[in-house]
């Protein structure tokens, strides 16, 4: 018995089979199905945000279980409270100092690591260790190291048992130091990745023309690295404005209000004092600060990127 197999469609001579028509209702549903994940994410972010913002207009606290709308009263109270402005000052000093120091150190370390060597390769791997430690754990570790009675720092530096790292006048700089320890590697790694992605040709051409290393750094590398540095600055500055964990572990905002950042103020109002509306007001104002700062920095980044690409003078 012989069978004859049906000819397989092959070559260009056979017309392709027409796709099965998709029913109209399914085609109409597709955009909605595709947007479900995005909608879920937006709802997940916006619902607590809107609810938090709504609380800022109530007098909601544990001792006021049935709150009423109070308009802008919370904002007036918070904005006329010197403790709030002290927190703004502390947060600003913290964020600016931490970001500047981390950026300078991070760029310097990235430049050193870019010179390929065995030590550099080892350091590259060791450098990420602080990033592997949760900031709250880093706070506990540094708290032990800062302890004047038995901490390693006073012992190694020969400061005796009377030097208080977390005392008035030093506490803010000590918590910045911990931030620098944790996050400088983040800047270094980001900038190092940027340096390694730069084109080699301009540097080779400059070397042929006899340009010095510093000249090449200033005129070539820095302008081309600038977008990467700015990305690191944006991430670090935004994070620093919202700092909470290791500062709270180390000082809880003290001594006095010396390290009371806006996040710590919000936490203390909401969770310790159980004044939810006042805590929400703090958070809402912090959000406004972060949002406006982010908006400005991203516009600066856009300009820098266009300049590095040569599309803008």
């Amino acid at each position: 018995m012989t069978t004859t197999a049906p000819p397989r469609p092959s070559g260009t001579g056979t017309p392709p089979r027409a796709p099965r028509p998709v029913p109209g209702w399914r085609r109409g549903l597709r955009p909605y199905l595709l947007s479900i994940p995005a909608v879920l994410i937006i709802v997940g972010i916006l619902y607590p945000f809107v609810l938090g913002a709504y609380y800022a207009f109530l007098n909601y606290a544990a001792v006021v279980p049935r709150p009423v709308f109070v308009g802008l009263t919370n904002f007036v109270e918070v904005l006329s409270d010197p403790v709030f402005w002290a927190s703004v000052r502390v947060t600003a000093i913290y964020a600016v100092t931490a970001t500047v120091v981390e950026t300078v150190l991070g760029v310097g370390i990235a430049l050193l690591l870019n010179r390929s060597s065995l030590v550099g390769r080892i350091f590259e791997r060791v450098l990420i260790l602080p990033l592997m430690i949760a900031p709250v754990i880093a706070g506990v570790i540094w708290g032990l190291m800062f302890n004047p009675q038995f901490g390693v720092l006073n012992h190694v530096l020969g400061l005796g048992s009377t030097f208080d790292w977390l005392g008035e006048g030093r506490a803010l700089w000590s918590v910045v130091l911990v931030d620098v320890w944790i996050f400088t590697p983040f800047v270094a790694i980001l900038v190092l990745a940027g340096i390694r992605s730069l084109p080699k040709e301009p540097f080779e051409a400059s070397a042929v023309d006899g340009a010095s290393w510093f000249y090449m750094f200033r005129r070539l590398m820095l302008p081309m690295m600038w977008p990467y540095i700015l990305v690191a600055v944006i991430f670090r500055f935004m994070d620093s404005l919202k700092v909470f964990d290791h500062v709270y572990v180390l000082t809880a905002g003290g001594p006095g209000d010396a390290t009371r950042t806006l996040q710590i103020g919000a936490y203390q109002n909401s969770i310790v004092n159980l004044n939810y509306s006042q805590g929400s007001t703090y958070m809402f104002l912090l959000w406004a600060i972060v949002f406006l700062t982010a908006r400005y920095l991203v516009s600066v980044l856009g300009k820098a990127q266009r300049r590095a690409a040569g599309s803008e003078e």
């Binding site: 913002a53 009675q149 008035e168 919202k242 003290g254 001594p255 159980l274 929400s280 912090l286 949002f291």
Partner: protein, 461 residues
């Protein structure tokens, strides 16, 4: 940009996200009246209750006993543990949600002033007085009077403690007294101080910074918990008061001349004879320094220093002793207390089972067993019969502990004026101490604190 804005947005909704909603609704009706007939431990057999607890010697002592409770009642206890640092955050969130996920929970007395007014806690007095729900030999009056009073209030500004509902049953507690390094005192031939000025002098004399030793540890961190142990005890002994009632309004008096004078001395004591990093010191730091031999005295909870004298727990185990601390100018030993108590969630759906658990855990029999078998001890039991019975037998190697306790117990209760803004106003008090420690003028700073606190406590009412 959206990502950055979104991150901030997410953090601004922190409260909503962690479940703090304007939920809770009207307070649930008290469930005691629903229990009728004669008392029977097995009335709620087959029920499982959830209890929120924090790891603590009291909880550690009771954990192995839960099987006995199940055997007695047929009730299974699911105990969730949350570290003390996060405990009250979790508890606040749970209670505020009104979900009733936990039927009973550990709480401190001050928290009643905040959790009670919104109706989050069940009044246990109807349960205690209902013979169908409470065994005849429960003997509530056996619990020290100061403790019973400290867990009861009617939530009206100006009303004293002891008025109103019984919101929690004291389970374990601590008095705030001096623990000292007796071996070192004996070596030097000195004795604990009997007045506050003597204490200042003694602590200063014992301080030797060059050899990393200092006279006295007490809390100084930026927390309400800095105020309640040694500070509030000595503040009261020296004749100072936090608030006075004028008409229907409270007036903060932590800036009275005697309070300013005492506060100045207290902060100077911290500076000259306290731990270098005083503004970060909580009780574990204080007791650890005592156990390590770095601090010569600690003015804090007796139950916090007690474990340091148990063999194997610290370098100075066996060398420690207790003393009531300086008496006031008139010889008084007024002492502030802290009590871990057991309370019932008013939103619980298993109130009878929850009450049977609370009744059992605060009863004579279970507390006696906890004292006898607790791995970390059970200092101090809240029942006079248990203290006089099983607990005294454990105190052989704790010189002065019993005498100290007996000296202060009659004048031990909560020395704060009850008010609903306790945590905010008391934390602000701790901030003021830190500011004075950092150099601000005591009188000016305390005047500002008193003005702010007067406004806060009356606004809340």
């Amino acid at each position: 940009m959206l990502v950055l804005g979104g991150a901030a947005a997410a953090s601004s909704g922190l409260l909503a996200a962690c479940g703090v909603g304007t939920g809770g609704g009207p307070a649930a009706a008290n469930g005691a009246a629903e229990v009728t007939g004669s008392f029977d431990w097995r009335k709620a057999a087959g029920t499982e209750i959830s209890v929120l607890q924090t790891p603590h010697p009291y909880q550690v002592a009771f954990q192995p006993l839960l099987a006995e409770f199940t055997q007695l009642t047929g009730i299974t206890v699911k105990a969730d543990l949350v570290a003390e640092a996060d405990y009250f955050t979790r508890l606040n969130t749970e209670l505020a949600s009104g979900a009733g996920n936990y039927d009973a929970f550990m709480t401190g007395a001050y928290f009643i002033w905040t959790y009670g007014p919104p109706g989050w806690m069940e009044d246990l007095r109807p349960w205690i007085s209902n013979s169908a729900a409470t065994k005849g030999d429960y003997d509530f009056e056996d619990i020290y009077e100061g403790l019973r009073r400290s867990t009861s209030w009617d939530f009206k500004v100006g009303s004293p403690l002891g008025s109103g509902g019984q919101w929690a049953i004291p389970w374990g507690f601590e008095t705030n007294v001096i623990a000292y390094n007796k071996a070192e005192f004996d070596r030097r031939g000195i004795r604990p101080a009997e007045t506050f000025d003597e204490l200042i002098q003694l602590a200063t004399d014992l301080t030797d910074r060059a050899n990393n030793k200092y006279g006295i540890a007490f809390r100084g961190s930026r927390s309400w918990a800095t105020i309640h142990p040694g500070f509030m005890t000595q503040f009261t002994r020296e004749g100072c008061k936090d608030y006075t009632l004028q008409g229907d309004q409270l007036t903060a008096t932590m800036n009275s001349p005697e309070a300013v004078n005492f506060t100045r001395k207290w902060v100077d004591l911290a500076r000259t004879a306290g731990p270098t990093s005083w503004t970060t010191y909580d009780y574990p730091d204080c007791t650890a320094d005592l156990g390590a031999g770095t601090a010569m005295m600690v003015y804090d909870a007796d139950s916090a220093t007690y474990p340091q004298n148990i063999a194997g727990n610290s370098a100075q185990a066996g060398n420690l002793a207790w003393h009531p601390g300086p008496a006031g100018p008139d010889g008084n030993y007024a002492t502030n207390l802290w009590t871990w108590s057991l309370a019932m969630n008013s939103a619980s759906k298993k109130k009878l089972a929850a009450w049977l658990f609370i009744q059992w855990a605060t009863g004579k029999e279970a507390q006696t067993k906890a004292v006898q078998t607790g791995k970390l001890g059970f200092a101090d039991p809240t029942r006079a019969s248990v203290f006089d019975g099983a607990f005294k037998q454990t105190l052989g190697k704790f010189p002065g502990y019993q005498e100290t306790f007996e000296r202060v117990i009659g004048s031990t209760d909560i020395k704060f004026t009850p008010q609903k803004q306790f945590f905010q106003t008391t934390e602000d008090w701790a901030v003021a101490l830190q500011d004075i420690y950092s150099g601000q003028d005591a009188k000016t700073r305390l005047d500002a604190l008193a003005a702010a606190n007067t406004a806060a406590v009356n606004r809340a009412s």
